[in-house]
Symmetry: C2
Subunit: 204 residues, 2 copies
DNA sequence: GGCCTTCTTTGACAGTCGTCCAAATTCTTT
DNA sequence: AAAGAATTTGGACGACTGTCAAAGAAGGCC
């Protein structure tokens, strides 16, 4: 029954990693809600149906758990604008769709974006997540660059460099996220308009 | 001896606020070094010549102390580019001087900027410093706007809005600060170049 | 000198934190 | 059903936190 034992093992392993992801997702929720500074393992456990001790069964320590959470963040937002790029037929409509997509992302995933900015900030002090953060940051920059490069193709404009393009839209998004708490609708509307305008101005 | 008593009081008060500022400066140093999440009152006290108990003699509680530290940050960086604006004779030289000034600020005050971004991030979770943070943010936006508006005067270009201008240069600076840890010289050089280029492109 | 106000230290307190572990429980296999 | 492995629990630990109060030191005033 070698293959039976093997499938049992992979099933057990799959179950193990599934629960890992489940707990890491709870950690993500907690981090997004309370911020890194006030997130404790007991707070995370309270967002699950388990007790706090189980976290050390599935993760080596707190850093291991949070690292897993950080890695989950990446998958959620790295391909967000690719559909828009693929569907774009001319530069103005791409710019408009991009602005709308940014605003939608802000509206729907504000908590996750707060978490991301918080963790990215932490990486300046702890250096524990700095590798993961750098990797995600590079992915986001590449994502923005796909939008900008496509817009340049459609508009026959001048290209900025990828880093500048990312920095600019990132600054815009951060500002909108800060304003989102007070005035969600206004923040989304302004972000949409400014992102569209900035894309056309930056590469046109 | 009424006036003697009064001057004594004034001197005592001055001494009191002077020590407050001294302790708040130590808190600032600690926050910049360790980050908000790991800054404790005992860590702050270790950066002074006093013991940890004295902090509660000069400040009501931890929030009071950190609020004082945040307010100190403002005075340090709100008029940083004003001399450049006053001295500018034409648009290209203003843009160049602005880029150089940003790079210099990054090089000389990297720790303070890290602190500022960390505290601004915290304001999204705690709401304790959100008023102070918003006030400083508005001051910084006004500072950037003075640069951009002056450049527009000199170049006869189109004006963006103050919020967008601030967001764009803030994003640029944040990115440079993150890169500064690995490669200080390169980060400063790139920031200088990009800020100069972006200013001319944004308003020209 | 001694007195009184101001300032500083020290130690304690109640909580919370990450971590660990033995016991209890659930699930799987025989 | 019995036995074994895998999973979960909940309490304990030492360390650290913000806060506070009592004791002590320092300095000006009589």
């Amino acid at each position: 029954m070698a293959h039976v034992s093997m499938t049992a093992q992979v099933e057990a392993s799959a179950k193990f990693t599934a629960r890992r992801d489940e707990l890491a997702a709870a950690a993500r929720t907690t981090l997004a809600e309370l911020g890194y500074a006030r997130t404790s393992l007991r707070e995370i456990a309270e967002r699950t149906e388990y007790s706090h001790g189980v976290l050390h069964y599935y993760f080596q320590d707190k850093v291991d758990l949070i690292t897993h959470s950080v890695r989950q963040v990446k998958a959620e937002c790295v391909t967000r604008y690719d559909a828009i790029v693929a569907a774009a037929v001319d530069a103005p409509s791409l710019a408009r769709a991009f602005g709308c997509a940014m605003a939608a992302s802000l509206r729907e995933d504000a908590a996750m974006h707060r978490l991301w900015y918080d963790l990215r900030n932490q990486s300046m002090f702890t250096a524990t997540f700095s590798d993961d953060v750098a990797e995600i940051d590079a992915s986001l920059q590449a994502m923005i660059w796909r939008v900008v490069a496509r817009h340049t193709e459609l508009a026959d404009g001048a290209l900025p460099d990828p880093a500048t393009a990312y920095a600019v839209f990132d600054g815009l998004f951060w500002q909108a996220l800060l304003a989102f708490a007070d005035d969600p609708d206004g923040a989304c509307a302004r972000l949409s308009e400014r992102a569209e305008h900035l894309l056309t101005r930056l590469v046109g």
